[in-house]
């Protein structure tokens, strides 16, 4: 299951917001037509169902949006939300097992054996290698015993042979999203499978899957120069908030997560009030709702988990990270900005569009076209998440012969332009026009709609905000852009990170960590 920053939709939808200004009729028309197509229902357990009827072809897509991601991983357990997401493909007490009663007993033994092994492994002094080897063997033996009750990958096999396509999930820092598309004829099967795993996931094959997740980390982070840089960049930009912590998990932590911890995460965060399920496609709400209510009613109720108290303190020291290695140079910098609820949220979107979108954007024209020092240069936000205060980041990829320092200086020059002079009427207008077109083109795709509706319902408590925020965006002015640029893009609020190319290997290249 991939880790994917799920919806870039909120970007798309901001855009759509802007659309409304130039063409008020589009917004009014779209919202009205969508109100007719969309049914929302909050079940007694708190889970929200959204159905968007699009009977064009006999198919549907869904998105299950869980308002919990790796930002919620407890201390010492980074990577837990993602690890749980992998577990959610392993089946339940009804699917994936030959004998759940017996398997449950075996899984308890696995957990006890892992605890015993970990206790010895983590001993600060007096660890006994012979004992450790024996405990490891015992751990492997009970896993083998538990495996005898497993019907491997049965959950996904049943979905796939019933026509599921694009079956996957993504864990971000803010959220976990599960999704696939299917022929309309298998809606009930999907409801059984999806509600089953939300309500009744079991810690099957957990420790083998943990190995898989560690391979995912090696691929994405350890063995990729940009992956390594970005992990250091975020860890440096944040001193208190979990946005600074490796999302896939620090090697020592993600390699020692236990099934008990994963199940505890499930118990706390996979409650009805924390989940929105959106279905878009050839589904008739009046016919489907009773059936969906029956299945999704199985998800446990319980209070919405408490909000986190940590707020990233105001940055007052400019920070830089330099990685020297034999790969090509790269530059990234970020400035702290408020979360998605901030009244200036749309202003940030305008800045990122004007600086970055296409060949008319300021960074392209300046760094790529005119100075010819970069192959690519963009700004983007919010990063690495938007639920809590994230960063407004800029990056540039130098062309041969140019350095990260030149990227930095050129980007700062463009930032200074934003701070000292208004953007043009044309630039602001282009942003709005693009927004309208992007919004519109997103409305004809079942999977995209399911993502967007579930995300907006989760973040704003009402999917209509997808359209309604157009009004806020409508108010963005040139003065807002200047004001925000002056507030946020200041040196004391900045963290930069770059790769400098070395001719020979250095210690910095030695990657690795716990197995």
């Amino acid at each position: 299951m991939q880790r994917r920053r799920v919806p870039r939709y909120w970007k798309l939808l901001w855009v759509l917001v802007l659309a409304a200004m130039a063409w008020p009729f589009v917004q009014a028309q779209d919202l009205k037509s969508f109100e007719q197509k969309i049914t929302t229902k909050v079940l007694p357990n708190g889970l929200t169902l959204i159905i968007c009827e699009r009977p064009d072809a006999p198919v549907f897509s869904f998105a299950t949006y869980v308002d919990a991601g790796d930002v919620n991983d407890p201390s010492g357990e980074s990577g837990l939300a993602h690890m749980f997401e992998h577990l959610a493909f392993k089946g339940t007490s009804e699917i994936g097992t030959t004998d759940w009663a017996a398997e449950k007993v075996a899984l308890a033994k696995v957990e006890a054996a892992n605890d015993a092994y970990e206790a010895e492994y983590l001993k600060p002094i007096g660890r006994d290698p012979v004992k450790l080897a024996a405990l490891k063997k015992a751990f492997e033996d009970v896993q083998a015993e538990a495996h005898t009750f497993v019907v491997p990958n049965q959950f996904t096999s049943v979905a796939e042979r019933s026509g599921a396509t694009g079956l996957n999930a993504g864990t971000g820092l803010d959220q976990t999203v599960y999704f696939w598309s299917m022929p309309q004829s298998r809606l009930e099967l999907w409801a059984w499978l999806e509600s089953g795993r939300l309500a009744d996931v079991q810690p099957r094959e957990f420790y083998k899957e943990r190995d898989v997740v560690n391979e995912e980390r090696r691929m994405r982070t350890d063995s990729d120069p940009t992956g390594r840089l970005v992990e250091q960049f975020l860890a440096t930009a944040y001193v208190a908030h979990n946005y600074g912590r490796s999302g896939v998990g620090w090697p020592s932590e993600v390699s020692q997560i236990t099934a008990t911890q994963a199940m505890e995460f499930h118990r706390k965060y996979y409650v009805g009030a924390n989940i929105v399920v959106a279905v878009a496609g050839d589904v008739k709400a009046s016919e489907a709702l009773p059936m969906l209510e029956k299945y999704f009613g199985r998800v446990p109720g319980g209070p919405k988990p408490e909000e986190m108290t940590t707020v990233e303190p105001k940055q007052f020291a400019e920070k830089t990270v330099t990685i020297r290695e034999q790969t090509q140079p790269f530059f990234i910098e970020g400035y702290h900005r408020p979360d998605f609820r901030d009244p200036d949220s749309a202003v940030y979107d305008a800045i990122s569009d004007i600086m970055s979108n296409g060949r008319v954007s300021r960074l392209y024209r300046s760094l790529v076209r005119d100075q010819q020092i970069a192959a690519q240069a963009q700004g983007f936000s919010p990063y690495p998440g938007g639920k809590y205060p994230g960063l407004f980041a800029f990056y540039a990829v130098p062309v041969p012969g140019h350095t990260p320092a030149e990227m930095r200086d050129a980007i700062h020059k463009e930032i200074a332009r934003l701070q000292t002079a208004d953007v043009s009427d044309e630039e602001l207008q282009m942003f709005k026009t693009r927004t309208r077109a992007n919004l519109l083109s997103g409305l004809a795709d079942n999977q995209g709609l399911a993502f967007a509706l579930s995300e907006y319902q989760t973040r704003y408590g009402d999917w209509r905000e997808l359209f309604l925020q157009l009004y806020r965006v409508d108010k963005v002015t040139k003065a807002d852009i200047r004001r925000v640029a002056n507030q946020v893009f200041v040196p004391s609020n900045r963290t930069s990170a770059w790769i400098e190319t070395e001719a020979t290997a250095t210690a910095a290249q030695k990657v690795g960590g716990a197995q």
Binding site: Q2, R3, R4, R5, A57, P58, V59, E94, I95, T97, T98, P152, N153, Q154, S157, E160, R161, S162, G163, A164, T165, L167, G170, T171, P183, Q184, S185, R186, L187, E188, L193, E205, K208, D211, V213, N214, E215, E216, M219, D224, P225, V230, E231, E325, R359, V360, R369, Q376, Y383, P384, P398, V399, Q429, M430, A437, L440, S441, L443, A505, G512
Partner: protein, 491 residues
Amino acid sequence: MNIKHYSSIVLASAIFAALLTPATLTAQQNKPWEKIPAVKLHDFKPQQPRQIVLKNGIVIFLQEDHELPFVYGRVSIPGGERDEDLAKAGLVSLYSGTWRTSGTAKLSGDAMDDLLESKAASIETFYSDDAVSLSWRSLKEDSDEVLTLALDLLFHPKFSVEKLKLAQQQEATNVVRRNDNAGGIAYRESEKLVYGANSPYTHQPELATIGAITIDDLNAWHDLSIHNKLFLVIGGDFDPAAMEAKLRLAFESLPPVKALPVRHDVFAGPKPGITFIDKKDVNQSTIEIVGLGTDRHNPDVPTLAVMNEILGSGFSSRLFQKVRTELGLAYGVGGGYGYTYDHPGEFSVYVGTKSATTVQAIQATLGEIAGLTTKPFTQVELDQARNSILNSFLFQYDTKRKVLNEQARFAYYGYPADYLETYEAGIKKVTLADLDRVARKYIHPDKLAVLVVGNGAEIKPGLEELKLGPIQSVDITIPKPPQPASDQNKQ
């Protein structure tokens, strides 16, 4: 660029049923999901695009689609990277990269950017192995103007020296960065093992070849290829009669097209054995196991599709089941016997595993490949694979745009209009005996090449444990550009 720490990976992967022992099957008596009936699938007749063949041989596909107020189109010009001169490697990329940014005599590329962006419209150029294409897209209300612009760019480009220089820099950036990513190295170098390093499908641009390309080269390529058999694909919110009239006006008066000579690419396939590329900044080995594949004209393709599903596609496949789920050795694993439209594809299986388990992962993966001929296919596997393909087949044509693109693609390569139906019918008919025959015919583990990109110091046990013969190496050092004359004078 992959800056988010959640990027996506396409995981092709493998089957489960091998592990389903009879005991498992009997023990699991209660299967609640089987009691959930499939309701009747709603009738669905996808709207087919209309094909128009002009007297001069130009082909047009039109698909009305009024759901959204957009019009989109594409003209494909046969002739791509595989057709460029080896000494001018990178020419097609630079041609495509300079064309749109240069613009026309009437409107420069920069001015075109401003105009199009103000309308949220786009005109772009792309290239591939076998074609260069020019595509456009706009809101309905701007569609006439954007079509006119696109046609002007198609017929009257004005290649600019300045934009060529820009494209050369972009391409040079790709060249110098091509060894930064292990996956990129593995993909590129394993293709070379299959087709040869200087084949039409694998020759690569170098700083020297890019630097030598001139505006004259771009003009020459354009003047020659624009007379090839153009292929137009247009969809969206338009009046079909009016659109047809516009296109006829623009294209009907052109001289008869010249078809490119049919290629007869023949490849011997890789030299069996193992090749290693050392990369010191990784802790995971990227492994490609490759051989020669086939093309879609091969009547065995439906059976190969089912075999691929069983071997390495999806969560139920043998490779996924063994290497990922059972052994926990990999996140990404999968692949299969490839088929392309008009030349032999590749057999390609991919796996990524931590350095220390490189040998174990290769053995397990090779074991599953060899198992195609030694471990009998089961009815459970066949049903799983066939149902996965057939029940999701709908997603090949669930939007008008997909139908348009599928139909156009098969027509472009000269396949019959009912190709997809024939293919689907073929899948339905695949038997265990077919799978058996096809596996024995196409799967030859002794003819495969194994490529490992990884950290040599960490790979223990070493690759020699595999006993695949001497470990070959490939020099992937990026050749330096020729020194400009002025620099040489200084030295």
